[in-house]
Amino acid sequence: MFAFILQRLWQAVIVVFAMSVLVFCGVYAVGNPIDVLISPDATQDIRAAVIAQYGLDQPLWHQYFAFLGRLFHGDFGRSLVYNMPVSELILSRLPATLELTLIAVIFASLAGIPIGMYAGYRPHSLLSRAIMAISILGFSVPTFWFGLMLIMVFAVQFGITPAGGRGDTASLFGVEFSFLTADGWAHLILPALNLSLFKFSLMIRLARAGTRELMLSDTVKFARAAGLSEFTVLSRHVLRLISIPLVTVFGLELASTLAFAVVTETIFSWPGLGKLIIDSITSLDRPVMVAYLMLVAFLFIVINLVVDLTYALLDPRLRKGRA
C-alpha cells in the first residue's frame, strides 16, 4: 500500500511538471505578451525596460525556469486587471466554486445512482423508459441552454428564485459559504441544478448499464439461488460491484464539473473561479490564466489520487496485488 501511494505521488510530481511546461508554452509562448503589456505607442526605451523587467529577452528555457522558481515560492504574479496577487484572488474565489461543484456532484450521485439502478433492474418497465428518456435529454441539452431555461422559468416566470448572484453567506472555518443560509440556498439551487443535470444523467446511465449487466451475471444468479431477497442482492452485491467504476467516474466528473462551472457561473453570475477565468481570458490576464490552469491541474491530480485510493479500498483484488 505504501509503495502504491509513493508511486502515485511520484507520478503526480511528473504530471505537475509536465503541466507546468504545457501551461508555460501555451500561455506564454503563444502570442506575444509584449503586445499586451505595453501600449503600441510606448517608446523604445520603455519597451526595452519592460522586456528586461519580465525577463522576456532571456532564452525560452531560462524564462521557463524563472517561471518555475516563482511557482515554487507560491508566486503566481499579479493580476493585470485586478492589480492584486493572483494567489489571493484565486483563493478568494475558490470556495464559491468548490461549494457549487460539490453540491452538484453529490446531488447527481445520490439521486442518479438509485434511479439508474432501478432502470437497470427493470429495464423494460414504463418508468425505466421514462428515466432513460430524461437521461438522454439531460445528456444532450447543452448546459448553458438549460441554465437559460431555468432562469426563464423559475426566476422570470414564477419569480421564486433569484436569477443570479450568491446571496447571503455565513462563515465556516473562516470561509464564506452560501449553503449555511436560506437566502444562500435560494441562490444556490438553480446553478447547482444546472450544473448537476449532465452528471445526473451520466450517473443514471452508468448505474443502469452496470446493473443491467450484473443482473445477468452468475454472481447475482447465485445470490438469488441462495435465497437472498432482491433488495439484498441490489444493495449488497450489485451496489458494491458498480461502485467501483462509479467512483472513477465520480472523480473524473468532479474535475469536469469544476470546468463546466465556467458556463454555469457565467449564466448565473456566480462569483467563482469560472467567472474569473472567463473574465481573465477575455481581458488576456495571463497570470490569472496560468494560476487557474495550474490549480485545476493540481486539483485533478489530488482527485485522481483520492480516487485511486478509494478504488483500492473498494476492490480487494487491488489491495494485495499492488503492495
Binding site: 509503495a3 509513493l6 508511486q7 511520484w10 507520478q11 511528473i14 423494460h124 445477468l216 451475471s217 452468475d218 454472481t219 444468479k221 447465485f222 445470490a223 438469488r224 439461488a225 441462495a226 435465497g227 437472498l228 431477497s229 439484498t232 449488497r236 452485491h237 458494491r240 460491484l241 467501483i244 473498494l314 476492490d315 480487494p316 483484488r317 494485495k320
Partner: protein, 571 residues
C-alpha cells in the same frame, strides 16, 4: 419410470420452458418429466442446447427473461412451485433447494469476503448474530474441507483457486441443509484432479446429509461416477431415463448409443469414432510446396532444445524508469515454460498433456513459432522457425496451428473463401486464378459444402468453424500442425467428427502433429507418444501405451487415477 420407495421429493411433469425470439419460440425445454427421490442422485446429461441447464433453472425458478415456463408442473414434496408468489419461492431457494453453478470464477462476488457472502446467505433465511454467522461460516468451510477455515473466512474470492472457490459455493449451497441441490456442470471448468476430489467429497457429503442431487453435465463418465439414475436429454426432451449403470452399459435409445460411441475412451486407439460417421470423401488438393528436402518418416523433425518462456507483467513508462532507478522492486516473473527439450519425429502424433497453468499451451505456441522463447531454440529440419533478434517473426510456413476456440479464431469480417485463400496467396502457393478452386477443394476435403466460400463465419456452427480452421491451417501445406485443444470447446459428437477428420487427414498428408489437450482419453486415442507437463516442465515422456499402462512419475499416476471412467458392461 420406477417410483421411489419413499415417494418423490421432486416431481417434474411435462415441463415446457420456452424463449420467445425474433424467429419464433425457442422450445428450450419441451415436455420433460422426471422425479427425484429423497437422497437420490439424478444425472441430467446432454450436449449444449439440449435444455439440461434450463431444466435446472426452471426448478429453482430463475429463468432469464424473456424465457418462461409455459406448461407443466414442478412439485416439491407435493407442493406446486409453478405460479408461487416470488417471496414464497425465495423462501424455498437456498433453504430447501439450492444450486451450484458451472464457473466458480464468476459465481462468487469478487469484492465481498467469503465470510460476508456466507453471512448474507444465512441471513436470507434466519435471524443470526454476526458472531454466530461467523462461527457457522467457519464450520461450513470446514465441512467442504477448506484448511484453516478461521483464517480463510476473511479471504476474498481472488485469493482462492478455482477448486477452492467451487468448494465455497458448495458450502453456501449446503448452509441450510437443503433437501435438493442442483449442480449445473460444477466441475467442468476445473482440472481433472480437482474434479476428482470434488466428486469424491460431494459423494460423501450427499450420503452423509441425505441430500438429493440433480447433477447436470455433458460428461457421461462424470455422471456415471455419481448418479443413481441418468436422464439423457436432447432438443428439450428426455430421450432415455433409467438406472445409471443400465443406461450407460446397455443404452436403448439411438442417441444415447451415438453419444457413447463418440467417446474416444470406448474405442481402440487410432480408430475412427462413431463408426466412421461424418467422414468427408473428397481428397485434399495435391501438394505444391517443395517436398524434396523432407526427411523420411520417423526421423527427428521438429527439435525443441531447452526452451524457456518467461512472462513479465507489462510495465508503464514511469514504472519502468522507477524500477530501473531502484525505487521499486522488480515485478515477479512467471516462468511458463522452464527448460523443455523435446523432439517431434516426422509423421508422429505427440500428445502434450497437462492441467491449466502447466505451460502446455505456451510450449505449443513456442513450438509453432507464435511465441518467441526467452531462451532455447526451435528448429524444423535443422532450420530455425523464427528470425533472430528484435522483432523476431515466424519465417516458416511448414508449421501451422489450429486453435481451441473456433468462434475466436476466424475473422468475422472476412468471407470463408478469403480466410482460406489469404495465406496461400500471400505465400504464392496458388495464383489468384487458382485460388477459388483451391479453396473449394479444401472445403470439400474437410467435409464442407464448397459453396460455403461465399459465407461469413457467423453463419456456421462451432464444429463447422473448426473444420474451416483446419482447412485454413492445411491449405498452407504444412508438415507439422500444432493443435491447441482443438476439440475442447465442442460437444462430444462434434468432437468425435473432428477427431475422425484429424485422423484421416493426418494419414493422407503424412502430417506430424503436436496435440495439446487436458483430456487424457482423447490423447490416448490420437497420439503415438505422450509428454506430461507439470509446472512448466515435462515430467514424463514416452510411448502412449507405456505411459498409460505403466506410469512412472507420481504426477502422471495421480492424473490418470483422477480420470472418471465409464462403467463397462460385462461382455
Amino acid at each position: 419410470m420406477t417410483a421411489a420407495p419413499l415417494g418423490p421429493l421432486l416431481e417434474v411433469t411435462n415441463l415446457k420452458t420456452w424463449f420467445p425470439s425474433a424467429r419464433g419460440e425457442v422450445k428450450a425445454v419441451d415436455g420433460v418429466s422426471f422425479s427425484v427421490a429423497p437422497g437420490e442422485v439424478l444425472g441430467l446429461v446432454g450436449e449444449s442446447g439440449s435444455g439440461k441447464s434450463i431444466t435446472g433453472f426452471s426448478i429453482i425458478g430463475l429463468i432469464d427473461e424473456p424465457g418462461r415456463i409455459v406448461e407443466g408442473s414442478i412439485r416439491l414434496e407435493g407442493r406446486e412451485l409453478i405460479g408461487l408468489p416470488s417471496h414464497e419461492l425465495r423462501a424455498i431457494r437456498g433453504k430447501t433447494i439450492s444450486m451450484v453453478f458451472q464457473d466458480p470464477m464468476m459465481t462468487l462476488n469478487p469484492v465481498l469476503s467469503i465470510g460476508t457472502q456466507i453471512k448474507l446467505a444465512l441471513e436470507a433465511h434466519e435471524k443470526i448474530s454476526a458472531a454466530d454467522a461467523r462461527e457457522r461460516a467457519v464450520k461450513a468451510l470446514a465441512q467442504v474441507r477448506i484448511a484453516e477455515p478461521e483464517q480463510k473466512v476473511d479471504f476474498f474470492p481472488h485469493q482462492f483457486s478455482g477448486g477452492m472457490r467451487q468448494r465455497v459455493a458448495i458450502a453456501i449451497a449446503l448452509l441450510h441443509r437443503p433437501k435438493l441441490i442442483i449442480c449445473d456442470e460444477p466441475t467442468t471448468a476445473l482440472d481433472v484432479s480437482v474434479q476428482a476430489e470434488i466428486l469424491a467429497e460431494m459423494k460423501e457429503l450427499v450420503a452423509a446429509l441425505g441430500t438429493a442431487l440433480i447433477w447436470i453435465s455433458h460428461d457421461l463418465a462424470v455422471v456415471s461416477s455419481l448418479a443413481d439414475r441418468v436422464a439423457v436429454m436432447r432438443h428439450g426432451h428426455i430421450v432415455e431415463l433409467g438406472p445409471a449403470f443400465g443406461v450407460l452399459t446397455k443404452p436403448q435409445h439411438e442417441y444415447t448409443k451415438a453419444l457413447l460411441d463418440a467417446l474416444p475412451s470406448r474405442a481402440k486407439p487410432g480408430q475412427l469414432l462413431l463408426r466412421g460417421a461424418g467422414i468427408a470423401d473428397a481428397a485434399p488438393p495435391p501438394r505444391k510446396s517443395a517436398t524434396a528436402d523432407l526427411p523420411p518418416l520417423g526421423s527427428p523433425y521438429l527439435v525443441i532444445d531447452n526452451a524457456v518462456k518467461r512472462f513479465q507483467k507489462p510495465m508503464g513508462f514511469f514504472k519502468e524508469i522507477a524500477i530501473k532507478s531502484g525505487i521499486f522492486r522488480p515485478l515477479p516473473v512467471v516462468q511458463a515454460v522452464d527448460g523443455v527439450s523435446i523432439t517431434l519425429k516426422r509423421g508422429e502424433v505427440l500428445g502434450l498433456v497437462g492441467e491449466s497453468g502447466s505451460g502446455k499451451s505456451t510450449l505449443g505456441r513456442v513450438a509453432a513459432g507464435i511465441a518467441v522463447p526467452t531462451s532455447g531454440s526451435v528448429r524444423l529440419n535443422g532450420k530455425p522457425v523464427m528470425s533472430e533478434g528484435r522483432g523476431a517473426r515466424k519465417i516458416t510456413t511448414r508449421i501451422q496451428t489450429i486453435f481451441q476456440d473456433p468462434f475466436a479464431s476466424l475473422n468475422g469480417r472476412m468471407r470463408i473463401g478469403d480466410i482460406l485463400a489469404e495465406g496461400p496467396l500471400a505465400h504464392r502457393l496458388v495464383t489468384r486464378a487458382e485460388a477459388p478452386d483451391y479453396v473449394r477443394q479444401w472445403l470439400a476435403a474437410v467435409g464442407l459444402d464448397p459453396t460455403f466460400a461465399n459465407r461469413f463465419p457467423h453463419q456456421f456452427s462451432g464444429g463447422q468453424r473448426q473444420r474451416i480452421a483446419i482447412a485454413r491451417a492445411l491449405a498452407m501445406q504444412p508438415d507439422v500442425v500444432v493443435c491447441d485443444e482443438p476439440v475442447a470447446s465442442l460437444d462430444v459428437s462434434i468432437q468425435a467428427q473432428i477427431i475422425n477428420l484429424l485422423i484421416r487427414l493426418r494419414a493422407e498428408l503424412d502430417l506430424s502433429l503436436i496435440f495439446i489437450s487436458h483430456d487424457l482419453s482423447i490423447v490416448r486415442h490420437l497420439c503415438d507418444r505422450v509428454a506430461i507437463m507439470y509446472r512448466g516442465r515435462i515430467v514424463e515422456e514416452g510411448e502412449a501405451g507405456t505411459i498409460y499402462d505403466n506410469p512412472q512419475h507420481d504426477y502422471t499416476k495421480r492424473l490418470l487415477a483422477a480420470v472418471p471412467v465409464l462403467p463397462q458392461a460385462a461382455e
